[in-house]
Symmetry: C2
Subunit: 476 residues, 2 copies
């Protein structure tokens, strides 16, 4: 029953898959490229959803739901959009036993269907800004898939907003980017770099794509969330106009933004260790597991009342479970919860009871301490806060230690091909240099910092002048 | 801007559509048969979801997520299942620009994909019972669609459980049926009839289908929720077995159950009036709207502080909003919230302020009362409870007044074709008699009561002996 998890050092990629499967986050499905999100993985998604949903609503957005099926012609209305998404489309050709007059694609993202509705709903400046969010499944035909990171179907949230001016749309896109940064850092305990994407990396149909990027333990980048300023591209494609205060008709300015179930993959790769998952307490479905320990009926009589007492002290404030399974050995129980990344374990055995104490064990650094019963609620709260902070600090250290400035392309290549990390280098801005880097090193331009110190320099590839440094890295 | 809503008496069907559109619950989409659920309609769905999700989790079920795309061959594995669903399937034939080797269908329900996973996860009796719930979108190709009631795509929850014995599965199916009854009655304020479906009406693949049926104001039945005892049908089709305590391998026994966004249609048709929607307070996204009234800056100076005070008194305990729009007339504002079915309106004008009071107005019976400010929180709580109860009582009265016992088929036909309602009549149990009724009257067999008084009688159609009465009605 117990399968081993590969060591990160030996086989990072197998380690990742082992952890996802062993912690029962997800499973392969019989459908190529599609996964099943198992209850424990889905509980993490519910924690992410619950938090982000509150944050999104606080920006003034309202949830709604738009059709999964989109007429193929809609996808074609925005030139860049169709170019970007055409290769990834799944197409419904038959419905109710008949060939459809027009094929329908499964939404690879919902701009097109949403803008066709915005055209109907937006009349005047009084209808603006309009902020809509949708929690939905998305289909993108992927050739090489990996659980959570790249699957044909995934779950996400997609925000879509329409504004009267370019400035407002820009402000919205940046505000949301900041919301994602807050979520990544304060909830996921993953420090991120905020920045703009290059032309090559931006969303198909956007004027500007912003993103937050985190560093995984293998020093590769993972895009945690993205926020697009769409300009008037979709407004023009779907003729979404509004009447200004002065009575003119103008196209709206819009944004879209999203995060997906790949965040669960990010949590695994940012914090996990060779035993398995380590979850930040603020997103852990189970924050505390209580394991009562007894060998005899006499012990049980002592241990059980204390277990109930501790459960009672904690259950209002923390998400907790009591492991009463009698089919598993103690060691197996401990391992089960460690593998699942539960931040704190409380052991209660006859000796603990005789001391009126319980043993608290941290998942992240393995620290243990016998804590008097009356201090448990306070200590649990403090320890969970401390775990949240120290996971962030550990990630922050990783990011700092593996972000390098270099001005030499040979050094750049050496770093990327060797230890990996974020390379903070001068780039002239030309797509040709960007492509060359990608072809030669597999590193992509991850982020053009939002407020970088202006620093004159020379492009690491071609030597032409560059006004600022940008981040390159290999990425998921 | 203000469109009229048809009167229920004049054109029930147009009234329904008008209310759905005017209350901004949903809108037509450019995709045939698919609707857009607008923010206000989605907020009702969120209220339904939030409540049911807690109830479902309390039964021991955990949420998970399974693929939308199902291999066509899977649907064919259970004979009755494919027969039932084949005519409604949407089929993906192309992905990533290529013809697929095997077509994929969009889930019309998830038994097949879920049982293929259960086969992998269930090993022994220790893994049972297994209770899984999924919130998801569903696609069934429908020819004649109506907003919320019958759409090609809809949202639902589907529970799937596996058990060691037939008895346990039966108990589960009944427990869930009871959960749906509680939800319908206590939350939706819709009294329901609990019963079993006939062979003709049961779920394709079930041994027994149970359902709760409510009566709409046009005296037609609407199935609010259904719960199926699937026996070992899917377990055998997907070879889902477990090892018993004694070491034998046996197929599991299973159930599935669900409710969908059609519940929103039920709320409209059970409670609405000629002005628009009337929402039961426990599911209303906005329970209280405060409308401050002022004609001058001086008035505003008096009214606004009191509005803020009342908001402060209520905001912790109730879902409320303050209507500060200055682009609408007062009458238009009132109508807007009435149309949307907000249970309580609080008007605060200069005269109210001078009396240190506010005017409370009920949506359901139009009652108004000037209430001293200090009494507002208590009164609002009492009135909301009262509205919830009186909506239920009104529905209960409708159900009782339009449920008829008759022993004559000519009277049966007259009732069904005339006023409508639930006809509680003797039926011999033969599909032929059931079909005859349906063909001649369009009424279907809605419910075979769970614990009916045994009453010897004669089938209303053929005159053969019948041991009990069953419910026939026209239905959505």
């Amino acid at each position: 029953m117990v399968h081993e998890i590969a060591k990160r050092e030996d086989d990072w990629s197998r380690w990742y898959t082992d952890v996802v499967l062993q912690a029962e986050l997800a499973d392969y499905s019989p459908v190529k490229g599609c996964m099943v999100i198992r209850p424990y993985g889905y509980a993490i998604w519910e924690a992410i959803q619950g938090t982000l949903d509150r944050m999104i609503k606080a920006t003034g957005a309202q949830n709604a739901y738009f059709p999964l099926l989109i007429p193929e012609s809609y996808i074609r209305k925005e030139a860049e959009h169709v170019e970007g998404f055409a290769p990834e489309l799944a197409v419904v050709t038959h419905g109710g036993g008949k060939l459809l007059e027009e094929p329908l694609v499964l939404r690879p993202t919902s701009e097109t269907i949403i803008y066709s509705m915005f055209a109907k709903w937006i009349m005047s400046y009084r209808d603006l800004p309009l902020r809509i969010n949708q929690w939905a499944n998305i289909i993108r035909w992927e050739m090489r898939t990996r659980l959570f990171l790249r699957t044909t179907e995934f779950l996400w949230q997609e925000g879509h907003t329409a504004h009267a001016t370019h400035e407002e749309a820009e402000e919205e896109a940046r505000k949301i980017l900041d919301m994602y940064r807050t979520f990544a850092e304060d909830w996921m305990a993953i420090p991120v770099i905020q920045g703009r994407k290059s032309e090559a990396e931006k969303f198909a149909g956007a004027d500007v794509t912003y993103a937050v990027e985190g560093m995984m333990q293998d020093r590769k980048a993972l895009q945690v969330g993205t926020s697009h300023n769409l300009g008037q591209n979709f407004a023009k494609a779907f003729d979404v106009t509004y009447q200004t205060r002065e009575g003119r008709r103008e196209h709206v300015w819009s944004t879209s933004w999203g995060v997906s179930t790949r965040l669960i993959g990010a949590l695994v790769m940012a914090h996990g260790d060779d035993i398995g998952l380590i979850l930040p307490p603020r997103l852990a479905p189970v924050q505390v597991v209580i394991v009562p320990i007894w060998g005899s009926d006499e012990d049980y009589g002592k241990v059980w009342p204390v277990t109930e007492k501790v459960r009672g002290m904690l259950s209002g404030d923390f998400r907790l479970t009591v492991d009463t399974r009698d089919t598993l050995s103690l060691g197996r129980k401990f391992y089960d919860w460690e593998r699942k990344g539960v931040p704190l374990r409380i052991e209660i055995g006859p000796k603990d009871v005789s001391r009126q104490a319980a043993l608290l064990c941290r998942r992240d650094n393995k620290a243990k301490e016998s804590v008097p019963l009356e201090n448990i609620p306070l200590t649990v709260g403090k320890w969970l806060d401390d775990i949240q902070r120290s996971l962030f600090a550990r990630s922050q250290k990783l990011l700092e230690e593996h972000t390098y400035r270099t001005d030499r392309y040979d050094e750049f290549r050496e770093m990327i091909e060797g230890e990996g990390g974020f390379l903070f280098v001068h780039w002239c801005g030309s797509p040709a240099c960007e492509t060359k880097v990608q072809e030669e090193t597999k590193a992509t331009l991850r982020s053009i910092p939002l407020e970088s110190e202006k620093e004159e320099g020379k492009c690491i590839v071609c030597g032409k002048p560059s006004p600022e440094r940008v981040y390159f890295a290999k990425a998921y």
